[in-house]
């Protein structure tokens, strides 16, 4: 019995240390905001939620291109040359505290240095994390927007997120189930079963 107890203790202590290590590491690497940390804490909630700016104001190619487009630094400065931001503390949903004006100043810094902002990709197609969309998947934003889908169908309620995270897992299953629900006729379903629709 003594041996058994000793064995249990050893295992328990090992588990404790290793998991503590991992959790501590994870905590220090990221905040409790679900999405990945970005070079500038750009709050979609403030822009799209509080200020009611339409998605396509910044992601302006959604209707004309397979790619939605990430706004250029010039576009950011189009507003922020005039909007300096309040010099106040702001706490994100995940509990990070930032100063709004300081974050905007970071954007101005990129503009002054004429550098692009190295955003971290949030909506990869693979799994639940931020890995990018694999090369063998062709997704066309234009077709989906023209059909009348809301951005939120796939991207979630971005206007309520301070730090954007991936709302749906965007695997093939997610695509197929939505397409099945929305198919007008059998022909659409046939197209759906065709791998070449998305993979080439």
């Amino acid at each position: 019995m003594k041996r058994e107890r000793q064995r249990f203790l050893r295992i328990a202590i090992t588990v404790l240390f290793i998991s503590a290590g991992f959790f501590l590491y994870a905590e220090s690497a990221e905040s409790r905001d679900k999405g990945p940390a970005q070079p500038v804490l750009f709050s979609h909630k403030i822009h799209a939620g509080d200020n009611q700016i339409q998605c396509q104001t910044c992601h302006s190619y959604t209707e004309v291109s397979p790619h939605p487009g990430i706004p250029s630094v010039q576009k950011c400065m189009g507003c922020h040359a005039y909007v300096a931001g309040r010099d106040v503390e702001y706490t994100t949903q995940g509990g990070q505290t930032i100063n709004i004006r300081e974050e905007i100043n970071k954007v101005k810094g990129y503009w002054q240095r004429q550098e692009p902002i190295p955003w971290v990709k949030v909506t990869g197609m693979y799994g639940t994390t931020s890995a990018g969309m694999p090369e063998f998947v062709r997704f066309n934003h234009k077709r989906h927007i023209k059909r009348g889908f809301e951005c939120s169908t796939c991207h979630g309620e971005v206007e309520k997120m301070d730090v954007v995270h991936k709302a749906e897992d965007l695997t093939m299953g997610f695509c197929i189930s939505c397409h099945e629900e929305n198919a007008d006729n059998e022909e659409h379903k046939t197209e759906l079963k065709d791998c070449l629709t998305c993979h080439y």
Partner: protein, 979 residues
């Protein structure tokens, strides 16, 4: 064994530890996600105007790979040029391209380009990188201190504004401009001067002819304007009410062009002129001539068919028949290639001119109102003089621009030695070739895809050259460099008011616009010019009459040097031209049409001779000529006379980058500086060689080792007089086979293709176009030796026999047949390949696990397997098409009728709520095909061109008996009565 006994001393089993670790690791992965790769999105700082990421832009420009000057549309995605197409507005190429044009972006993105200015360091004997400022200073210093010697600007054919610019640059310095084209066709010019008093090359309108008589002119390969010629060839091949054109080709060997003729006549090398004179003799003696013979009658009177037959080894009957046919239809006689390069080349061209004159072709199929710009190039005689001047130290500064005389001038001239005597050589070339390597200073130019310019291939057409992207490397256009240098040279200080060559070009066009379109404002004119890519003018018709000079010509036998028993033909390669294409891997890997050889040189030799000498394909031989010798592998070929051997030009570089260097042999190096007597043009056919076996053999690496199709009728022919007799259509070829499975049903589209074997010339433009569109890697000679080539479309070539026993070369483009009953599909264990609802045989890379069962089961052997993750060395990878997955090791791949283009087209059609129209989507191979042999379309649409052609009476499916139900219909090659 009890559990207790198995425990370790410390009481912790390995298994327990793994369990613990598993739990902890899993939790950590969920909570921390620390091992996920982070991918970034980098936006523009300032977005370029009119660029939408994901939507391609097309820019017009003009191809400068050869002197044809085809109009191009360059597809640009996110700031990078990714594909070249022909500009449909151009009257030269009408939207078509050749293999060389398709590979031209591999020049732009070539990893061996000169990346910054270089200066020769006398201590290390090497070229070392310097900045632009210092580089231009060095040139300016040299120009300022120019002594009593000459300054020479040596360039390729740069007609248009740039030639005027160079003249202005050279004038204050007292310099001379030499325009050097390796194949400048001087004998044609000279003969036109002698016969018609016009020292120029007219437009030869093959498209307007019904009967083409070619004396050695390789018009489908390198002769004058090949894409334009191919379009004409295709028109001539049209079948209208049981009638079609006819082509007779006279040459000692059957090259790609001869192989596409109805009749190939292997006259004795150098005797083509006698044949032409014999034909002219028959015309006059039988009264067939349409124009009064005048002084010509006397010239040809001695050349009776019987006499000519003994001189040329062509029968008298043949000569008479040609004379009759030639005068009975809209005809055209052309001369070039081997007939254009003997010591009597001009005499041959005079004889050819006589034929055109007597048949009344001048002003019809021979159009002097629209001469080609290549007419302005310097002659070989001029070049010889220049080399002598360099050797004697008269040339003080030599500016070399995009020419490689060390490689392309005959070895006897010893150009490399002469260059040693030039005190200062500056190269403006983009590559370090054999000539640039000798330079003291290299100021690398931007390629024509990165700079402004214009080029006029012929009088009626001037194309604009515009940058289609920013320079890849730290380079400048030659014009910008010279302007910048001129500001620091005393003599040139006030020569140019402009700061950039672009401004110079615009001011030149301003003057032109005032004449061409005075009503339009210049800005509007310029915009139209750049959008359309070219301007055309209607040249005024010219009156051409016989010149009295013609009587001065006497006809002589060709002269050969050397004692050997074979005439040595060194012919320009349609892939590498004079060698300038050898640094592009797609061209190296494009199998030669006849031998299917890649990455190498070979010597063509007649089978009878080979047997006597004990030679087989791949045997090594030593070829001895007075100018030296070389060793090479042989290709045993029925299409060459027994007294002749032939070797292609263009290989054998000792420099010029990793893809060109050290492959094959360079025949230029051992040629004598022999000339055509009358024109002074270079004589390539001037040597007799002896060939001796080296008694060793190795694989001559090719993509097709079989020469005959045997008893499997892959390529089929039909006699012209058999057409139109089978009712409307459908012979036994379309008979339905009984099938176990129900017919597949399609609702909107059934993609299919029709390939006309009567039009396909085997030129390989489709192969290179496919590589460029579909990110197909090049794998190199070693891999191809293992049958691991990657091309999705290949040209199959078979040597068959005509009914009279003569050689019948057949070409067939083979690609995935998109079978309705595909053998590859049921054997795939993971459903990576399947038949889709539009008739495509899908190939899904992300499902593929690489069993290769499908490739084993494919009837047509069109599937390709990635044995490695093949690399495109930076920056060649910049050309990759972002709409096509780049495949990696272990994946099967093949043609899917450019499904990315279908998908793109459908997206645009859907915006307008309609289905795709016919011809709205073109596959890459079809779009390039200069002879319009490939037609892709929807077979459900009865009116689509592909449907109509698929129902043609000549239609058949390859290996139909296997019941694979291919979507590709081949149209039989038409055979007509031979001469």
């Amino acid at each position: 064994m009890s559990r207790k006994e198995n425990k370790g001393k410390d009481g912790m089993k390995r298994r327990d530890f793994l369990k613990v670790l598993g739990v902890v690791g899993g939790t950590a992965a969920v909570a921390g996600s620390c091992s996920e790769p982070v991918e970034q999105i980098i936006p523009y700082v300032i977005p370029p105007e009119n660029v939408i990421p994901g939507v391609p832009k097309f820019y017009t420009t003009t191809c400068r790979e050869c002197s044809s000057g085809c109009g191009l549309l360059v597809k640009n995605r996110e700031g990078r040029a990714i594909k070249v197409e022909g500009n449909p507005e151009s009257p030269i190429n009408m939207g078509k391209t050749c293999a060389v044009g398709q590979a031209s972006l591999q020049g732009l993105y070539n990893p061996d380009r000169v990346r910054s200015p270089l200066v020769h360091n006398p201590e290390t004997q090497r070229l070392e990188a310097i900045g632009w400022k210092r580089g231009e200073e060095i040139l300016a210093e040299k120009l300022n201190s120019l002594g009593s010697g000459k300054i020479v600007y040596l360039s390729n054919d740069i007609s248009g504004t740039y030639s005027k610019f160079v003249a202005e640059f050279l004038k204050p310095l007292g310099g001379e401009h030499y325009v050097y084209e390796t194949f400048s066709h001087e004998p044609i010019r000279k003969a036109n001067e002698i016969v018609f008093g016009r020292d120029e090359i007219p437009s030869y309108r093959i498209d307007k002819a019904d009967y083409l008589l070619s004396f050695g002119a390789d018009y489908l390969e390198t002769w004058l304007s090949t894409v334009s010629n191919s379009i004409g060839h295709s028109k001539l091949r049209d079948i209208d009410h049981g009638k079609t054109g006819q082509i007779v080709h006279i040459e000692p060997r059957s090259g790609m062009t001869a192989s596409n003729a109805d009749t190939w006549i292997a006259a004795k090398p150098g005797t083509e002129q006698y044949l032409a004179l014999g034909i002219a003799n028959v015309m006059i003696s039988k009264g067939l001539n349409k124009v009064a013979a005048g002084p010509v009658a006397k010239m040809v009177s001695g050349y009776t068919p019987e006499k000519v037959a003994t001189l040329t080894e062509v029968s008298a009957d043949t000569i008479e028949k040609i004379a009759r046919d030639f005068t009975a239809s809209k005809s055209l006689a052309i001369g070039g290639g081997t007939a254009n390069t003997g010591s009597n080349a001009t005499e041959t061209m005079v004889a050819v001119n006589i034929l055109n004159y007597l048949a009344g072709n001048i002003g019809k199929t021979v159009d002097f109102s629209d001469p080609l710009s290549i007419s302005g190039a310097n002659t070989f005689g001029d070049m010889k003089k220049l080399v002598e001047e360099m050797r004697s130290g008269k040339v003080e500064i030599l500016i070399v621009h995009d020419v490689n005389p060390v490689f392309t001038l005959p070895g006897e001239l010893k150009v490399a030695e002469a260059l040693e005597k030039v005190p200062f050589i500056v190269s403006l070339s983009a590559f370090l070739d054999e000539t640039s390597e000798k330079a003291h200073l290299v100021l690398p130019e931007s390629t024509n895809f990165e700079s402004w310019g214009d080029y006029s291939p012929k009088k009626s057409v001037t194309g604009i050259v515009q940058p289609v992207m920013r320079p890849v490397f730290n380079t400048k256009s030659a014009g910008d460099t010279l302007i910048s240098v001129s500001k620091n040279v005393g003599a040139l200080k006030n020569t140019f008011a402009e700061k950039k060559y672009y401004d110079y070009l615009r001011s030149a066009w301003k003057k032109r616009a005032a004449i061409i379109a005075p009503a339009t404002g210049f800005e509007k004119f310029w915009e139209n010019l750049v959008v359309k890519g070219l301007v055309t003018t209607a040249p005024a018709p010219v009156e051409v009459a016989l010149s009295p000079k013609i009587s001065s010509v006497s006809f002589s036998d060709p002269k050969f040097s050397g004692e050997g028993s074979f005439h040595l033909i060194a012919y320009p390669s349609y892939r590498f031209l004079d060698g300038r294409g050898a640094n592009k891997p797609w061209l190296q890997e494009l199998p030669d049409a006849l031998t299917t050889s890649v990455w190498d040189s070979w010597l063509e030799i007649n089978p009878a001779v080979a047997e006597k000498m004990g030679l087989e394909d791949g045997s090594y031989v030593k070829v001895d000529t007075p100018g030296g010798s070389f060793e090479v592998q042989v290709f045993v070929y029925e299409g060459i006379r027994p007294d002749t051997v032939a070797i292609p030009l263009g290989q054998g570089h000792t420099s010029y980058g990793r893809y060109a260097k050290g492959r094959g042999v360079n025949p230029f190096a051992l040629l004598p500086a022999a000339t055509d007597v009358l024109s002074g043009g270079l004589s390539l056919l001037s040597t007799k060689a002896s060939v001796s076996s080296l008694r060793k053999r190795d694989l001559l690496v090719r993509t097709q080792y079989t020469k005959s199709q045997g008893d499997r009728p892959v390529t089929k022919t039909v006699a012209l007089d058999q057409l139109g007799h089978n009712g409307a259509h459908h012979g036994s070829e379309h008979a339905k086979h009984p099938d176990f499975y129900p017919e597949k049903e399609y609702s909107k589209y059934r993609w299919g293709m029709a390939i006309d074997l009567n039009k396909c010339t085997g030129c390989g433009a489709c192969v290179t176009a496919c590589s460029a569109e579909n990110n197909i890697p090049f794998v190199g000679k070693k891999q191809i030796a293992k049958r691991r080539e990657m091309n999705w479309i290949r040209i199959e070539r078979f040597f068959e026999k005509n009914s009279d026993g003569s050689l019948d070369v057949r070409f067939l483009p083979m690609l995935c047949q998109q079978c309705g009953n595909a053998p590859c599909e049921p054997v795939c264990p993971v459903f990576a390949t399947y038949h889709n609802h539009e008739g495509l045989n899908g190939m899904i890379y992300n499902r593929c696990v690489g069993t290769r069962y499908c490739a084993n089961n494919c009837t047509y052997k069109v599937r390709r397997f990635n044995w490695y993750t093949y690399k495109f060395p930076e920056p060649l990878n910049w050309q990759l098409n972002p709409d096509v997955t780049v495949r990696s090791k272990g994946i099967m791949e093949k043609c899917t009728f450019c499904v990315q283009r279908i998908s793109y087209g459908k997206d645009l059609a859907k915006d307008e709520g309609r289905l795709l129209r016919d011809r709205e989507v073109l596959t890459a191979c079809e779009q390039a095909c200069p002879s319009d042999a490939i037609v892709f379309g929807n077979l459900l649409d009865e009116k689509s061109r592909a449907s109509v052609l698929s129902e043609d009476e000549r239609g058949y499916k390859v290996l139909e008996v296997v019941n694979t139900k291919p979507a590709i219909t081949y149209l039989k090659k038409v055979k007509q009565e031979r001469v």
